[in-house]
Every structure is written in C-alpha cells, then in structure tokens.
Symmetry: C2
Subunit: 887 residues, 2 copies
Amino acid sequence: CRVRAWDWGVPGGGGHEYRGRLELVGGGWCMSDEAAAHYSPALEQLALGRRFLRQELGGCATPRVAWQIDPFGHSRQLAAIFAQMGYDGLFVGRVDHQDKGTREELRELEMIWRASGSLDPPSADIFTGILPNVYNPPSGFCWDQLCSDPPVVDEDSEENNVDNIVSSFLHIALSQAERYRTNHIIMTMGSDFHYENANLWFKNMDKLITHVNARQANGSRVHVLYSTPSCYLWELHQANLSWSLKTDDFFPYSDGPHQFWTGYFTSRPAFKRYERLSNNFLQICSQLEALAGPVAREGPYGPGDSSVLREAVAVAQHHDAVSGTEKQHVADDYARQLAEGWESCQVLVANALASLGGRKENFVFCNALNISVCPLTETTSRFTLILYNPLGRPVSWPIRLPVNGASYAVTDPQGQPVLSEVSPGCPPPHPGLLFQASAPPLGFSTFKVSRLSRGDPPAPPARPPLSSEPQEIRNEHVRVLFDPLTGHLKEIQNLDKSISLPVFQSFYWYNASVGNDESLQTSGAYIFRPNSSQPIPVSSSKRVPTYLVKNALVQEVHQNFSSWCSQVVRLRVGQPYVELEWTVGPIPVEDGWGKEIISRFETTLQTDGRFYTDSNGRQVLERRRDYRPTWNLSQTEPVAGNYYPVNSRIFIKDKKFQLTVLTDRSQGGSSIFDGSLELMVHRRLLYDDNRGVGEPLVELGANRQGLVVRGRHLVLLDTVESSAERHRLLAQELFMAPYVVLAPGGGSSYGFCPGDSPQTFSPQFSGLRQELPPNVHLLTLAPWGAGTLLLRLEHQFERGESANSSQPVTIDLLTLFSAFAITSLQEMSLGGDLPLDAVSRLVWTPATGTPWGGGGPGSRVTLQPMEIRTFLATVQYQEPGAGVGGA
Amino acid sequence: CRVRAWDWGVPGGGGHEYRGRLELVGGGWCMSDEAAAHYSPALEQLALGRRFLRQELGGCATPRVAWQIDPFGHSRQLAAIFAQMGYDGLFVGRVDHQDKGTREELRELEMIWRASGSLDPPSADIFTGILPNVYNPPSGFCWDQLCSDPPVVDEDSEENNVDNIVSSFLHIALSQAERYRTNHIIMTMGSDFHYENANLWFKNMDKLITHVNARQANGSRVHVLYSTPSCYLWELHQANLSWSLKTDDFFPYSDGPHQFWTGYFTSRPAFKRYERLSNNFLQICSQLEALAGPVAREGPYGPGDSSVLREAVAVAQHHDAVSGTEKQHVADDYARQLAEGWESCQVLVANALASLGGRKENFVFCNALNISVCPLTETTSRFTLILYNPLGRPVSWPIRLPVNGASYAVTDPQGQPVLSEVSPGCPPPHPGLLFQASAPPLGFSTFKVSRLSRGDPPAPPARPPLSSEPQEIRNEHVRVLFDPLTGHLKEIQNLDKSISLPVFQSFYWYNASVGNDESLQTSGAYIFRPNSSQPIPVSSSKRVPTYLVKNALVQEVHQNFSSWCSQVVRLRVGQPYVELEWTVGPIPVEDGWGKEIISRFETTLQTDGRFYTDSNGRQVLERRRDYRPTWNLSQTEPVAGNYYPVNSRIFIKDKKFQLTVLTDRSQGGSSIFDGSLELMVHRRLLYDDNRGVGEPLVELGANRQGLVVRGRHLVLLDTVESSAERHRLLAQELFMAPYVVLAPGGGSSYGFCPGDSPQTFSPQFSGLRQELPPNVHLLTLAPWGAGTLLLRLEHQFERGESANSSQPVTIDLLTLFSAFAITSLQEMSLGGDLPLDAVSRLVWTPATGTPWGGGGPGSRVTLQPMEIRTFLATVQYQEPGAGVGGA
C-alpha cells in the first residue's frame, strides 16, 4: 500500500509531523447521524473536525475517506456533502439486510453514489462501499477484551489452534471475495468500545497474519496485511473498473424482518428541538462575531466565545445524540453542553450588539420564553426589545411576551407605533403581549415597549358553549374550516389561488410492540414497531372540545384531544400558512403499553403511493409506499417499514395541488395510505429494543412525570409549481429564525465607551448592503482566523423545482457586506480547509449515467441550483460604533 | 521505603538485573491451597517457584513475603513452611468474619503465628497480617476494566470528582488506621483478573496519590505512596512493637453466617486422589532420577523427564485446583497435565530401572490397575513384576493383578516361592492374583510370575444366605465383628493389646441446601451447607446385604448400602489395621436434591467435644466442637461449621484409647457428636454457591453418569500412647506407596548395553546402605543440578507424641546412600534455594510466650521432632550397571 502524495499537503502543524502510517478517517467532530441531522450543523461539525486535525497534525493528516460505519441508514445529502468536502470515498456499515443481500449477489456492495440531482457530476458523486460485517471482524476473529473468541495459540501446546484458525480464516476470506469485485477485500478488525487494551488485538492479528501468509508455501493465494481504508480504496481505484450508480438513499434501515430503525427519527423530540434551536443560535452568534469583529470576544460584558456552542452543537450531531438513541444521562449531558454554549454565546451577542448598536444595555436573555416566563417583561413597565435576523432578507416575526399590564405602546426603530394586543394567557395566568416585529437582513431592529394601563389584563374569553355552528379562522391568505360536530380541522383554503382542499387532521397513537410470535422485536429508542397498523385515536370521544381566540393579530382554534394532547390551530396576520402548535405529554403508560403519537392529515389528494421527504433539510426525495428503488422489497412492517426521516418537510401532491407540512425539528413521517401524511411527534416506551442503549425510552420532565413536548407544524397548501417557493423560504426561516434580546428601560442608555455621545446609538442595523435574492441563502458567516471570515452561500432550490427560483443566480460578494470590507477572497472546498483548486479527488467511472465531466464549477460568483460555495474572506472592520449600516 | 539489602543476594541471573522496584511476593509455582494440599507437594511447589525466580531474575528477586491472599482458610503447617523457607512475613486475605471482627476491635489483625509446637522458636514463627479487604481495593476505588467505580476526573469538567474522591478516601484510610496498630496501612489495589489493562489502574492511582497528598496543604496527615508488601512489612518492623501470638490455625473459613467454606475439603474427590497419587509417583520418579544419575534422562527408552510431572503436581496445588473449586474444563486440564507428567516420568523410570537393574526390559505400566485392567497380566502366562519402594524402610505390599489363570507360581528376587491366591474378581469378570510383595528401602525387588493352571478361575462364592449368625473377619492383629441383623460393622478388637471397642459404621448423606429463609446460601463447590444437621442413611433398609470372602491372604466383608454405595471391610494378612474400601457413585440426584455423602463411625469413646485432624498431612491439631481457640464463636451451622480439613488422618480418643482413621486423599471431616467421627467422601450438587466457580459441582464419569469414586479408610484402634507410632508410619506409606512396574516374560532379558553379560542383572536394589529409623522420613531425594542432588530429611513425629519416636534422632548422611558417593554437602533453607547460614529473617517480638532464641538449629545431622533439614549434596555415581546395592 502506498501513501498518497498530497498536492496541497503542508508538513507539520501543532508541532507534529504526519507520515501516513496512521490514517485518520471520517475526521468530523463526531461520526454524525444521518437521519435526524440537519445539513447546516452536519456540515459544520465535519468542517470543525477537519479543521482541528489540520491544525493539530498538518495537512497530510486530512482524511480522504468518509467513515460512516455505525449510523442507521445513510442520507443522500450527507453523501453530497462528503463529495464536496473532497473525500475520495465513503464507507458505510449498516444497510438494509435485503438491500445488502441483493448487492452481495450482484457484487454491487461497492458503487458510485450520485448524491445530487442538481449538481453537475462529479461534484456530488462519491464512491461508496458497504463493509462486509458492519464494523465488526469476521465471525470467530474478535480478540478484544470484550470478545470471547479463542486467541491464536501457536505454541507447542494442547491448545494450539493455528490450523483451525487459518483454515477458518481462509474460508471466510474466499467467501467474502466472492461478494466483492476485486482481488482486494477489507476486514474491519475491531468494534464498539474496542482497543482499550489494544495489545490483545495486535498480538493475535500479528499471529494471524504470520500463519495465514505462511500457508502460501502450501499454495494458498491469500495474502493478509495491515492496511487502511484509503489504501484499500486506492487498490479499488487501481482496478480500473466501472461501478454501478446509485441515486436514491439508504433509508429506512432494517437489520432483519420486523426490525426497522425508524423510531429514532422521532426519539427524544425535545432534545431534537433543542439541538435545532441551538444551531439557530450558533449561526446568530457566529454572524454577530463576524459582523462585530474582535470586540465581540473581548467586549464590555466579558469574554465572549462561540466555540463552546459550536463544539456542543457539533457533538450533538453524533449518531447517538440528535438521533435520540443515547442513555438518559448521556442525553442530559448533551443538553448541558448546549446550555453552556448558549451562555458563552450570549456574552458574545451582548458584546456584539453593544458594539454594533453603539450603546451598552443591561441585556437580558429570556431563555424560557417558550414557557411564557420572562421576569423582566413580567415585572417592568418599560423595556426594549432587539430582534436580530440572521437571514439575508428582511423578516417579519410575531413577538409574544408575558406581561403584567392590560395595554402597551410599542414603537419601532423609527419611533413609529406598532400594533399590539395583550391576549389572555395560555396558560391563562400569563397574559401575552403580541406584536409583529420586523428586522432587516443580517441585522437587528430595536423596539421600545411601555405599559399604558396597569389594570388587569383582559379576561380570557369564556369558553363558548358547544355549538353546531360552523367554526373557521382566516386571514388575508388562508381560511381554515372545522367540523362543528367533531371539532376537527376539515378544510384548508388558499385564498390567493382559490384552492380548497378537504383536510382532516387528528392525533393517534401506535401501540408499541413488546414482541410477538412473528418476531421478538420490541419498539425502542432505535426501532419503531407498532403492534397493529391501525393507530388508536387519542381522543376517546367523537367531539374534540375546542375554543376560539380572535384578535387583530391572530386567530386560533384551541383543540383538546385529551388531558395530555392538545393543539392550537393558528393563523397570524400576513401568514400564508396554517400553524399547528401541538402539545403532547405526559404520554400515559399506566395501561402497560408504550405509545407512539402521530399527527395524521387525511386529504382527497390522489397520491398513488407516493410522498416526499427532505434529506437533512435540503434535497427532497420521492418515497413510495412498500417500495425501494433498487431492490425488490419484501415488506414485513406495513407502517414502520414505510417511515422516513423528516428533517424539515414532508409533502403529498397530485397533479395540481400540494400539501406540505414543515417541522420545527426532525421527526419520522410517512403516508400510510393514499391522500394521507403523518408525522410522529412523541414516543414513550417501556422496553429496550436491544440495539445497545440498554434503556427503555422513558423521558421524564422536571416533575418526574412523562415529558411534555410542544412543537409546530406549518401547513402549506399551494399548487405543485408554487410550493417550492413557499416551503424553501419558510423552512429557511424555521431553522434560521430571528432572536429576541431584551433590556430594561426605554432607551435611557449610555455610550459604549465612556464619553461617547448618545448620538452613536443605532436602533437598527443591517450587515448587508442589499438583501439576498430569495434563492440564495447565507449558510455560514463565521470567524475563521485573525481578520478572516468563512462564508458559505448556497442556492437553496433544486434544479427544476421552481420556474423562477431554480435559475442560476449571481451575486457580488465584494459589495455585499456593510460591516466590513473584503480585501481578498479565496474559494475553498465545502469544509473551508482546502483551497478549491487544491482539491484532487480520485476519478471513478460509473457503469451507467452521465460520465464525469471533470473540472470544477464555473464562475466564481454564480450559484447553480443546490450549489454551496465556500469562501475565506480577509476583511477590514469599520471603527466600532461608527454607525455603520443604519437602515 | 527502602529496598532491603540481601546478604546473600547475587546480582544477575538469566541476564536480568533485579533492583527491587518490582517486588515479587509469594513466589511459588502457584498460590497453593492450604486445606487440601499435602505438605510434600505444597512445599515442593513453593521451592520450584522460588528456584525459577532465582534462576530467571537472580537472588535479589527472592520473595521475602508470603502472599496467600485468596486461599479459603490458612493452615498451621503451611505457615511453618513459609517460616522455614525464609519469609519475613505472611499476608492473608480470607479469615472467618467473626475472627476478623474480633481482631479489628482488638487491633490484632497483625500477629506472630507460632506455627509449630515442636520446633524451637523462632524457626516456625512467622509474622502474619490480615489484609483489610481480602485482596480488593477499598470500596469505591476499583479502577480496572472489570470494575465500575467512577474514574478520577480532575479536569475542569462537570464530572470533576476530586473533592469527593479524596474525602471518601481519607475517611476510609482513617477508619482503616483505627483497626491497625502503626501509622502505616496497606491497601491492595487490584483484584482477581485485574491489570490486563494496567493503564486504567495506574492512571487513576497516580491522580489519587497526587490529590490526596495535596490535601496535606490543608492539614491532612495522610500520605499515600506506591509501596510493596515487604516495604510495608519493613515499616511494621521498624515500629518495634510486640505482637500478639497465635498458635492454632485459620480453619474453617466463613465469610458470613451460614457460609462455611468447608465443602471444598471434599470437592472433586477423584481429582484429589489423582493429585495425591501423582505426587507419590513424582517422588518415585525423582528418586530414581537421583539414584540412577544422568542415564535416567538419556537412557534407552528415550528422553526421560521428571519436570513435566513436577510442574503439573506443582500447579495442581493451586487454591482452585486440588481444592476442587475449578470449573470442569479446568479440572480436566489439570488432570491432563498430570497424565502427561506420568508419561514423561514413566520413560525416566524405565531408563532408571534398566540402569539400576542392569537390563533392558519391555517395561509395561498398567495405569488402570485400580479398575483391574492390565492387558499384559490378563493375556500372558509369564511376566515379571518390579516393586519400587520410595520409603527409607522396607515395605511389604499387597499385589492384586487381573489375570486369566486359575493358579500361578510367584518367586521373589532370591528365587523363593511366594504365597499367592487367585481370588474371584470384584467385579467378578476380573479374577485377581494376590500376593504379598516386599521391597527394600529406596529400592526394588523383582518377582517372576508364571501361570500354573490355565483353567477357569475359581468360581466366585455363592452369596451366603441371609443369616443371623455373627459374622467376623480377623487376622493376627485385628478382629472385626459385624452385626448379623444389620450387616454393619459393630466392633473392632486390637488383638495385640486386647482392646475392644464398639464401632458402628455406616454411610449417610446430607441434603445440600438450596438456600432458605435464614440465608440464601447454597451448598456448592466451596461451601458446605446441609439442609438439616441430621444426615439420611444411604441404606433404606435396616439390613445391609453383605457377603464374606476369606482366603490365606485376605478376609473381606462386602457390604452393599445401596445401588450406588458399597464397601469392602478388609483385613490382609499381617496388617494391623482395618481397611474400608468404599465405592460411592453415581450419586443420584433425580429427586432434585444435591447430596453430600459421609462415612460415619460411632463409638463409645468419651470425647468431650474434641477430635483431632492433621494439618497438611503433618502436624495434628485439636478441634473442639462449636468452639474456636481465639474468639467467642457464634455458631450458625452446627455441622458445616464444625468441619475441618483432613489431609491424612482424623482421630478421636478418650483417656486410654484412640480410634484413628487415615485417608488416601484430602477430605472434610468432623465429630458432630461425642464418640463419633465422620468423613465426607463424595458430593454432587445442583447449584453454584456464588463464590466464583460459576458451575454446580456435577462431576460426570466417562459414561456421562455421575462420577463413581473409590477410596480407602484405614482404621487403627490402639492406646493413645501407641497410636502415633502406628498412624505416622501408615500415613507415610499411604502417600509414598510402592509402585508396580511390569514386563512380559520371566527373565529372558538382555544386557543394558550391547555386549553386557547377563550376569549384570540385579533382581533387587536398595539405594540406602541401611534403612532409616522409623521416625525419619526421606522427604525429598531429587536431582538439583549437574552432579548435585537435593535431600530433605524429616523427623516425622511431633514433640511428645511418642515416647520413643519423638526423640531426636541422628543419622549419617555421608554413609547413607549406596547409589552414589556424596563428595560435599551444604545445608540449605527448606526451599533449597538459600544456604541455611545465609538466611536472615526479620526478628519480631511476641507479646506473650517464649521469646525468640535466635540462631539456627543445632547439630547438622540430628533431627528434632517435626524438623525438616534440607541439603544440597554433590555426588559421584558408580559405573552404571555395576551392580551396586544388591540386597
């Protein structure tokens, strides 16, 4: 095996020298999950790990092989990211057992994965190999302290077993070789938690190698050697074969009949949301660090630091972290790390806002606004609200703050009054001040709030009596109708396009299997296995109690499905979608049954078994019930075997109309019968599923009751052609939402530095000179080194998805930003660690499909559909507090 | 801690240099058992290990501390051996929990053990320390891969636990210090199977030491350091205290109420016998190697080797070997190793006999004589029998060979006829040729056997009809009477002394406990716990079927207690004792109960709760029912708590008479009520007892039925004063029995070397010029190095045990042996590895009793009672085959 030479390799780094004898594979901050990870943190954790290796070990240590040997299924978007990071190949361990069996017969365990339907090959092509034994050694050859296979005894002893072991190894090697295409095969010698006592392994492998190779004297043609994944990959490449082409993904994963790993798409829904929200705040923190410059880290509130949150979000991508498949105390620790990251970032955000806004406030971060807790707004009569918007376009955002007054005056940065309402609390003790706040691209607006009337908040409306009158809510774009008899949603109308669609929505639970005659498999943290394909309605009565809330800003129908499951169906003013805010838990298990709760939508759409789910929040893949694109499926679980990961959206459509549901976190979803779609929102299980976690998935809240989880589904009804324009931008707003910062008082502020005049105060700021076109997303704006920033711009539409937005788009980076001047710019590979023109990947030949064109992307400032371009910018900041970019 | 200087230390050895930073403790070939081990192999295994260390690492590596941290109780004789090997101290782990509790209160966990009542102090005194936690670390401080205590986290982390761990450690250390007498305490950091991954331990101990010692800055007076047992012992010695004196032993061991480790005294009775027999043969093999010289290893039958058997017997002393507490496959392996040792030794024995006897025969070793299988004697009409006697005095030994003829002529080495009988077989298909053969001291006699009549063997006697006539057997010394109604033994008469004692003997089984309300403890390989103190008779009917066999050589009563338990009560001509040959098994367990089988003797002796058992086959200790000499016993198990190890003999006595039972292997024994004694002969159990073996004790024979075991109890009835003279010599004969070698033909032999004349043939040989006095035993005669032999001579009586034999005795070593001339002689310590005058032990002060006299033993050729003296002799051999020592 030869160590490959690297054009761009630089010796040294961190005082170490890397010679290639030890190969680093993967190289992310962790080995990320593929089903529940969103592409934004997933690619950043990979970049973070790669950067760390480069800094510590030098450029020669850069991993060439992506190594996803444990994740439970593999996503197309992550494969595209690996390709664009510069990896030569990807090895995976877990593939559906039927898929693997078929590929073994066809010798297609190794293939080229074309991981994008939009990008020109080969940018998103990656050679992909399925390992022979997941990550384990061949049967009988496990020599760790955690194994019980007999060691190789080659002494003069009763126990000498060399002949047996060598014969057994040769048999296994020859049989494996029949399933792969070249004379080279790979064996993974190790497993989970192995090599704590590495000598056991090496002592026995040394002996195995010696004795197997000694058989060559008797005519054996097997030669064994220590190798590395990239050496193996190199030999495959040298074989100069053409390889089969794959374009779909590897979901769902099952390791046997009835064993679908589709439960973890939903497991730990609160942590999945916290992870998503944390990445949202990390992006804001990074942006503000980049926009404000060094002062953000050294400003008046103390040392700010984005790295704590960056590393916490990175490790939360682990395939036993955001996946929800870790033990409870490990999940608690992930959450703790994230919370620590928030603290460091909040200092940084305060520093940056003080610098960019030109004054030091007593900033308050109300982390518990989601449960209507904010001591500042609940106790004071005057306060300031700053809304930071991390998107490249202006945003209008509903504000809801717990208050103690009956009416308030709110003014915008220009001093103009803003319409506000104090609505009865929900829960009632906490009345909420509502107003719609807007903020400029990559910037903030400051709002002043003063209490007008101290009196009691308006009484909550008396619950209307049960009535058979039709109920509805509506705004200028949407009308939602409810069945007066049952209280269920029954129809959605898109008023702009005059579309009307019957939509029945309700909550159900699947009865978690405890194993049966067909299979002992239980439902658990990894596995979803319902006892029956018919879920049970959460509401035991025909009529769901409802009540209506209407005011100038919002119209809501509150539905109570049971004591532990409720929903608010909401339309805000100006909002072209229906918001379904569900609250589920504590899931009762006193009846001895684990439960998996779904929200199901039933429509009259003719869907022909098809539905659509996103891949890590970016690409969209077509799914077909009881079908796999690359093999003849024998379905054993009519529900669980049709579940797919939903990171951001799921939709169904017919020839004309499309119903899209966006999620605020990763969930499992499916369409179990035509016209329907469903999302699993919460699960509570009583048995371990025997995949390693060793605990049943029993999440408890602070009160030791079952965990209560709240979330939102945003429902869009539109024509098929227009839907992408809606859901792309809305999904972007969901994962890069604005952030609220508060301060007491109404502007009685002082200068940033002693002696600053009050005139330096900027109530509004934008980091961009002009907003970005709707199809461009500023994916990353983050500090990189002294005076350099990392930029990632992406085209957020797929090819052909939208007549307008799927077109190429060109922007001028040099004139884009207002907070700093870019003095030089270098385009990098996706990871940010390699200059784009230094990336040199192995070139592979697909057996079918488009041959590789070679060469990189075209113009440096044009984005093609789904393209992400990454730049390192050297920048110069304006004077702090010099009032840059006031809108 | 200082490394002690060794007067006799020699640098180097095996190319290594030993600096004392790593200390070797114990140093035996294994850590031997103390209850079931016989002193002969037990001291030899210790010497073998010590010699190995000296050869490999040099004299400085010699262990100074005996380290018996796991054996399940501790014997006085082994303590005496440790003292005489030169150890400075002994550390033990397992001591009865009540004993330990008492000693903790009294601060007497460390003491001086006076391990002999015969030897002048301090030769058999040894400082003995009881470790605080057996061999385990203090609770909470276990850091091996097999432990689950939290590691020390001293980083800046949520998990940092330094304060807690240090405080907990200080608490434990101070509390331990209250139970010991000096400012120094020892903690054993490790356990069974630990240190496979030593880094885990050292990493955490490094941190612990750092952080505990750092507390000294806050006033802590605890200083922790890595140390060794001998450094700790050194500090105890430096404290210059006087220590309490112990003279009894540490049996039986219990680690809690109802948990007496007294089952292993009997567990695996067949292996216990095989081990005893193997040491017997090892001694013969060693002797013949020493007597014949180098030709024994290089002789005409191929390379002979005693080391295979020596090492196999040595490892069989392990506290989970001869103890019977190993898993079945481990027991099988011990037996395999012994069997291999026999093979190598048989080649050596053949070489030696050919050389000493002056001719090469086709020697045949009938290893299955115990089951009456010997193809040679069963098929040929003429053969030769050589009887080798390893004792220092002549022996007369009953021969029984399976044959196919009706009558035979047997002649002795002088050509004189020897009385023989062919008796009906037992089992009947195998008739046996019986004759009494004698052999000279340390030598052999050759007998010729010719078939006289080929006809059928005499028919077995018809079973006599049930009769109420009194039955008896007798010879010139003993008469044994049986109850004609029950068939049981009822009386023994010593005809020489006109003593008559009613003795009832029968077999019973204890119902093995499966746990009950008092305790969950089950009977198992280690633990003996009967369900009831009343054992159940094996025979379900009042009358035991019997039949009588009488001829000129033997008189026998055959008793059938059940289908799986029978006994032959036998008197041979000239034999001053009764031989009870019992056969037990397969023990039936179909009723769901494990069973522990005993042979119980009931007499009219007034025993006042006392009985006597040997210590490793050498010293004898008084036992008292429900009593311990050094603490106030709270008895929880009236049977199991009174069981003691019996290696070679147990007796009861009144003021005049003594009934002694000698065993052919180690067994558990007791006297549960006055006048009785009992021995447990076999056990079959259905549950593991939770002490580590992890298997129930279900031994199966070759036919997969429960194992059948046969053994012998030799019963002596004599006056108290005369009994020791009898049982000492008889016990010696039992563990150093003669050995039978066969050859086809009747002396048609050829010379040892081509051209030798037939006149060189010596039909009889003795290695001694005169026999040894009866109180002297040649314990060891074995090759040591080129031209040197190791000799151990012992006085085999205790002080005061016999008017005559307990006197000092003097012998002349230089003129003792006939096979070689001793050219120089050096007295050594017991291990043979240190010159006696180079041994320098720490001197300790006992709080009571005889102060230490200092100085070594007196004259070099006189043996005091119980003294063992060890010599290295440089020797010169006669010409091979020169006819030395013909009797």
